[in-house]
């Protein structure tokens, strides 16, 4: 692995700014966006009696070996390449700006025009084509020496061996910068004093911290709790013998529970959830946010070809999902949306049911459950959670994809997107577990295929709905 580095000789540098303009021109940067900088440090008195110094704050990305910007990147767009450079993949950068706050040197800028971050990468495309970085090629003073420190015969490594070089690091902040400064002590000291690494730069921004320190552990905890709970409940049913598959009379009376469009939507949703959960978790590339094993992520990414392709798919499927939901909401407003919302209404019996259910879970199986409508309170709760999550996911997803600019909107959209997904995933896992593993709920599962449910089951579990249906049939 190569170790590309730059040495800036402040005794040679005259602060002419050729490097800055060359960089802006090479990368066609708009006004106000710079990958490197030269700011005059005019001679001022430090009251030490020493002769003042007129030099320049000259800098660029330090390509730190312990870079604080890499881990904070949720998508892994920032990474260290095989030549030791810290680079950004423009296709996968979502412009959240976590890395901008996480750089102690202010070396990263958010490109509001493109919705991505801009930084120096030692002109990687030029260097890989055998050229010098633009700033090095332009520098009239020859103050910049660039090369591979691992290559013993490079000019940079010779310079590195022969000169006393310093890194702009402090006791508080030492990210092992790979930009080294040469020059007289008072000059280099002035440069460092005017541009000290900012200790706050090591800390990720608050939304990223909330993500890493609160949401991610909370998700694992919740998931573990729910899965354990389910197995405990199942075990209890098995022990008590409640889990026996009920005998099915051959010609049982069935009543219609779902129509075809709802069944289609249900399974479409199920697929989307599965796809989005898998791709979404694989998009969390950084180790501080990762929720699925890296090997699994790699497998998925390889299936899609690349991370960028995966991201593209994730965004596209989200778009399709939004379109389908809108289609149902608009064209099925009366037929589907209004009844759905009505079914989700929570009434007094739901509270009573929840209370009774809680008592049963806590070990009093004898407690009777009050009669329920088409859906019981547990299902309603699940419906609420999934519906709100869906809205949050789509909203925050749109914000991440569409919003270009700095600020807290996109920074908070990321943990929000994750939190919504985490809650929904837990709810869906619970839902799927109950439908597939708990034998007594099989009838519900089958109803999602053919749309009908045994009247006997409905009478037992959804008495009020059963009565409703019976009355309606009677009227007809």
């Amino acid at each position: 692995m190569a170790r590309q580095a730059m040495i800036i000789d402040m005794d040679r540098c005259v602060g002419c700014g050729a490097c800055v303009i060359a960089c802006q021109e090479e990368w066609d940067l708009p006004e106000g966006v710079q990958r490197n900088w030269v700011r005059p440090l005019f001679p001022v008195s430090d009251h030490s009696g020493d002769r003042p110094v007129f030099t320049h704050d000259v800098g660029l990305c330090n390509q730190c070996r312990n870079a604080s910007c890499i881990d904070v990147c949720p998508t892994g767009a920032t990474y260290r390449d095989d030549r030791g450079r810290v680079v950004v993949d423009n296709e996968t950068c979502i412009g959240c700006g976590y890395c901008v706050s996480a750089c102690p040197y202010g070396a990263r800028v958010l490109r509001e025009d493109l919705g991505r971050v801009e930084k120096c990468d030692f002109c990687a495309p030029l260097v890989d084509a055998g050229l010098s970085p633009a700033c090095v090629a332009a520098c009239p003073a020859g103050a910049r020496i660039f090369g591979d420190l691992d290559d013993r015969i490079s000019e940079a490594s010779a310079y590195f061996r022969e000169h006393a070089l310093r890194q702009n690091a402090s006791e508080l902040v030492n990210t092992d910068p790979q930009v080294f400064y040469a020059g007289r002590d008072p000059v280099v000291a002035r440069v460092f004093a005017e541009h000290p690494p900012n200790p706050n730069g090591l800390k990720p921004p608050l939304p990223a911290l909330v993500f890493e320190k609160a949401l991610r552990p909370a998700f694992f905890g919740l998931l573990a709790l729910v899965i354990t709970g389910q197995f405990v409940a199942l075990g209890r049913q098995l022990i008590r013998g409640e889990a026996k598959d009920e005998e099915k009379p051959h010609a049982e009376e069935m009543i219609r529970r779902h129509d075809a469009a709802i069944i289609a939507l249900h399974w479409f949703n199920a697929l989307v959830w599965l796809f989005m959960a898998v791709t979404g978790s694989c998009l969390l590339a950084s180790s501080v946010y990762r929720v699925t094993p890296e090997i699994f992520n790699q497998m998925v990414i390889e299936t899609f070809g690349s991370y960028a392709a995966l991201l593209k798919f994730h965004i596209r499927v989200g778009g399709i999902w939004l379109a389908v939901l809108l289609f149902y909401g608009v064209f099925g407003f009366r037929r589907y949306l209004v009844p759905y919302l009505r079914h989700l209404q929570i009434d007094r019996t739901d509270i009573a049911w929840l209370r009774a259910k809680l008592k049963r879970i806590l070990g009093r199986p004898g407690v009777a459950l009050p009669p329920q409508g088409k859906y019981n309170a547990g299902q309603k709760l699940c419906g609420w959670i999934v519906s709100l999550s869906t809205i949050t996911l789509i909203g925050s997803g749109l914000a991440i994809v569409l919003f270009r600019g700095s600020g807290s909107l996109i920074q908070w959209a990321i943990p929000l997107h994750f939190a919504a997904a985490a809650v929904a995933v837990v709810a869906v896992v619970l839902h799927a577990f109950m439908a597939t593993v708990v034998p007594s709920e099989r009838a519900v599962l089958f109803s999602m295929f053919h749309g009908h449910i045994p009247a006997r089951y409905a009478k037992e579990h959804n008495l009020r709905w059963w009565e409703e249906v019976r009355d309606k049939t009677a009227q007809n």
Binding site: R12, V14, A18, E25, P43, A138, P140
Partner: protein, 804 residues
Amino acid sequence: MSDQKKIQRRTFCKALGASALAPAVLSGRAHADIGVRRSVRRGIDVCEEIPSLCDLCFWRCGILAKVKQGRLVRIEGNPDHPRNKGRLCARGTGGRHLVEDPDRLRTPLLRTGDRGEGRWKPISWDQALDLWAEKMRATIDEHGPGAIGLFSHGLSSRFLSNFATHLGCPNNSAPSFGQCRGPRDVGFQLTFGDGPGSPARHDMARSRMIVLIGCHIGENVQTGQVMEFAEALGRGARLVVVDPRMSVAASKADRWLQIRPGTDTALLLAWIHILIAECLYDREYVERYTTGFDELREAIAPYRPEWAAEVTQIPREVIEAEARAMAERKPAVLIHCGRFAAWYGNDTQRARAMAILTALLGAWGRPGGYYMKSDVTLGPPPCPPPHEGMDRSVATGRHAFTHFGVAAQEIVEASIGRGARIRQWIFCAVNPAHSIPDFRRTREAMRSLDFITMIDMIPTEGALWADLILPEASYLERHDDVLAVVDHPRPFVALRQPVVQPVGQSKGLYWIVQKLAHRLGHDDCFTQPDVTGYLDARLAPLGLTCEQLAREGVHLLDEQQPFLAEGQDFRFETPSGRIELHSETMKSQGYQPLPTFEPVEQPPMGWFRLVSGRSPYHSFARTQNLPRLMEKDPENHLWLNQGVAEAKGLATGDEVFLQNEDGVRTGPIPLLVTPAIRTDVVYMVHGYGSRSRALGRAYASGVSDNVLTSRFRADGPTGGTGIRVNFVQLVTRDGREIPGEFEQCRLQRSSLPPVPEAVAPVEITPDTGAGSSEQKQEIKEVDDTPAEPPADNGFFSVKPEESC
């Protein structure tokens, strides 16, 4: 590998991302395949590369213009060009945006409002040229060719100045001479028979000691000069910087001599004194090549280091130590001749002192000092010499060595009033508001002229006053005359050629002047149908064609003799054939044959000498409309001594107004408070403060030093306008002085000791020149109490006979 690298650097063309700078996509290509080195395909990118020359400063670096589908996408340095070897400064790289500047002049314009108002209407080239020719003919017929005044600058303006000469008009004032390097060139030419060249023939990279006098390399950037400067420092050269302000160079110096402004000649004379008195000069060199050493030795005797110490306020030990340091390192000592030299009106004599010091160190024609000029023979210029001689009626005869026709102030003075001798002006790439001092007189002249024509790329202040504006294609869109470089160890020729289509209807100057000449019936001028034909004829003696040079960009010629060989006899181009330490030529024209120190007025308490300098992002007042450069350095600051600022209750960032002795007030300008400037000086960067509303970015950004330069002191021999003679006060918006001073202010303004008169100067009254000499009387003399007379009548500290 390195060759391959070079080629790749040239051919690399990036994919263009989205740009916030809405690009004006130019249709088609600049011209047929001329100049295009190669087309390169990288992915979907096709990029052409055209070698040309930068025009953002006099260094004229080689550039490679990268053009994609007719649009200029990048300018890089040309590795083949010996002056910049592939490197390029901020301005050269950022100059690309000149093509896309929305404020560029696109069509000929005719004034519709009053002069100075800036209201025009577009007209066609035919109308414009007919009008111009008609006005020219009328003026010449009625008043003769001497009634035309021309202000010109740059390589392309040679077409116009050559035609003016052909017409018999000598009134060609180049600010590059009279407002810049004229005194320096003349001072060196009188001494060595040859000026220092442009760029000066400094062999800086090999210098063992560099002495910069008021020269701020670093803030003042020419790519090649910075390259050599850094190389010399890297090799451990000793650097001495003489400057009242700590420049970037001074900060790097082994010794920073914070000199009292206006006393540089005293320091130089003291150094000459020490070299002779301590017998530290290069005796063999002086004996072999110079004349007038005895006169020099006699005349220099009074200028003792202790006297210079009092004058310059540099400790005597320091002066002596640096003279000895020079002697130790001779001949590889570069007494850098600077460039802008029109400071105090005694500038030719200062340049002479520098030249003499250089000669005593044996550094002229020696590695590490100055190298010798080469010769390049080109074909004839576009116009033959005048048929009937020159009309010299405007020259006052005050200045014997005004190389380029007539001094600017003479043209201005001859243009004011009804019966003025000069009736018509032409500005060619010159902005009078920022280059000629005392703009009030210039304005008065412009009010009374019959006709003013302005040729430029952008509507500067000069355009506001012009009757007719002709849009010139930028240096990226036109051919210029061949650049024949003789001031380089290896002579070469290089070509400036269009890399993109000219903006709007703008034209190159060859075309413009050709059309004018033919309308005036001068068919013996500009006989080639177009500029490339002319360039072919120009290059013919070298066996080159325009097409070939267009492709090569730079063509190196055979090396001649950059340095004097050991013990070689050499005939210099002076009348005596030797280096003239004592100049009979000066004497014969009525000037002191040996440099003398003339004290300049010191600012009274509460007043500051106004000194200006450069920013690495700007060239004069020409680059303030370029986005990349203006973004980096959008305004200038006023450097003010920290003690003075504290006494006045001011701090960095506070805004003040400036008012000069003539009541000219300008501002506000933010302060930069520093201990690293003397208490009697304030400093700002030149070129800001444009008053032309037609320049979107430049208008009203920063403050113009030239507005405050209402006085000047003309240099006798050259007529150069010494512009560091203005004093300013710091005032509030309504003109009240901001009070406050402290002890050091009085100390640093202490009166100068009298000039020692051990040896009576030659009975010549030195010409102090024209200009605003009457106005100068109004300044109160601060130094009315003479200091102690010199202790003895000034003999050498050590008798020369004893030591040598």
